[in-house]
């Protein structure tokens, strides 16, 4: 599948983009209610900018959930109706001592 990476979604590449964006935005931070709005926006916009620079014929959806670590349970699920040969998704779960971040990227070919 590697030689068709011009028109199919490459999970590893996107996964690296996501991890870099999360680390750059909240890597060293502790949970602060006043800042999570800015953090989620920054993470998502940084990822979208990096994905755009890859110059692939894709539409992207990027979503980010940040949650404080207090013992509550959280479940996320997604289902997609698309073309399995070209479209794909990548979800990264990241945590530090005070919070969880779950970032999902969906790429749909044009």
């Amino acid at each position: 599948m590697d030689d068709t990476n011009e028109t199919s979604f490459v999970v590893d590449e996107v996964s690296n983009v996501i991890k870099e964006s999360i680390e750059a935005t909240i890597g060293s931070q502790s949970y602060q209610q006043a800042k999570i709005n800015t953090w989620t926006s920054n993470i998502v916009e940084a990822i979208l900018n990096s994905l755009t620079k890859l110059n692939k014929p894709f539409k992207y959806i990027v979503s980010c959930v940040i949650m404080q670590k207090n013992g509550a349970g959280l479940h996320t699920a997604s289902s997609c109706f698309w073309d399995n040969t070209t479209d794909g998704s990548c979800t990264v779960r990241w945590e530090n001592k005070s919070m969880y971040a779950i970032v999902s990227v969906f790429g749909l070919s044009i």
Binding site: Q33, I36, N37, W39, T40, S41, I43, V44, E45, L48, L51, T52, F58, K59, Y60, I61, V62, S63, C64, V65, I66, M67, Q68, N70, G71, A72, G73, L74, H75, T76, A77, S78, S79, C80, F81, W82, D83, D87, S89, S104, F106, L108, I110
Partner: protein, 128 residues
Amino acid sequence: MNYSNAISNLNFSSNIHSKSSRSFNTNEVKQMLEQLIQQIIDKQNEYDCDKCTQLSKDLSQIIKDAMKSLNYEQYKYVIQVVLGQCQDDNLMMTCRCLWDIETDNYASYVYSNTKIFCAVTVFGLFYY
């Protein structure tokens, strides 16, 4: 659990347009989400970790099937379900998209009771 009754109980007001190529209608999808989610989650009285794991997956499949029955031509869908326990915690969810604003759109609905909250987002993307 068998949720096929939930889908057949939905009332759609725009079935007469099912053959024409119409664009993603946020209100119609949001109405559908409200009906479905209230029917399904109202039955959950407690937050149960194992049940909610399965429930979130089931819910995303059910909503995907309901979207298919809305008969939007040439649309791809992405459905995201976030289900959690209601404690004193805070949660922030943000989304950005790179798409064609003339054809693509999304609909979202958040439901919560004293035990469980559920945020569902449906994205519809036109396939040229």
